[in-house]
Amino acid sequence: MAQRILIVDDSRLTRAIIKNALTGAGFDVCGEAENGREAIAKFHELRPDVVTMDLIMPEVDGMQATKEILSKEPNARILVVTSLGQKLLEEDAMKTGAKGMIAKPFQPQELIKAVNDVIASRA
């Protein structure tokens, strides 16, 4: 059964590109969200295997959404996908409980590997 992915990003362009890459690799994109608030609601509704989470978003940002999701569901698997690919923020994301981080721009293969690594971290 295909792993189910929730894509969270305020950019419809990035959501489309992530969706194309992951569906092409056999993942099931079960939902999309445009901001952290929607991400929290859709996570609880859809119960995805992995969430790809942007950081800079309106209303509720990705770091806050990650914290809120993990506070209710500590086993949630969140991969941060951000243009802010800096070491200190990566450390912050991992301390918050994200399972990985990948910086934009990336190649499709890099994204797929990052998602697979997050899934493998469940084992």
Binding site: I18, A21, S83, Q86, P105
Partner: protein, 215 residues
Amino acid sequence: MQPIKLDDDQIADLVEVGNIGAGNAASRLSDLIHRRCIIDIPEISYMSTQEVRRILDMENSFVVMMHIKIMGDIPATMFVVLKRAYAQTIVRYMTNEGLDPTGKDLDFTAQFALKQLGEILTKSFFDSIHQFLMAKAKYSMPEIIMDSWSSAQESLFSSFAGASGEHLLIHSTFLDPEKSFNGKFIYALNQDSQGVVLNRIKLLLGTRKPGGVTP
């Protein structure tokens, strides 16, 4: 030439292009100074005197402005603008030296450091955008201006002489979350370049190229 009319999706897509550039430049700065550097969500404006004044809001300040021209598939102009006090702070982080107690001029070392920084930040900004859009670019050496805001504005506007209203500005604030500095990235595209960027975005939305770079 009539300005390109952008719909909401196109505006959002250009914002994402700006986000990728600004986020990468901010991250390069972060790694250089070992402090977090984040950005606000970029905004889109059309070039005008009023709009630049609104975006930058640097009245009565002394500023440092770095200016670079990009040639290649997507010709563009970029400015990095910050108040001189914030430039001094960043130099201090870069060099691990104490602040000039007079708080006045940036000395030769500081000016050199800022020129290097300007080159690093603008290159990081453009490299990430050009990777994303699968485009080629060549860079000029950045020009650095350290002056009152009114003088710096003259230099900025002279870059767009005769083209006001046709340039699109994608601008974003970069900042230390602990509020020790902030500044602005401004990415300016003429109409031809706007068209190239929008066409590249259509390609990204419509195709998957094996080995191609996506966001």
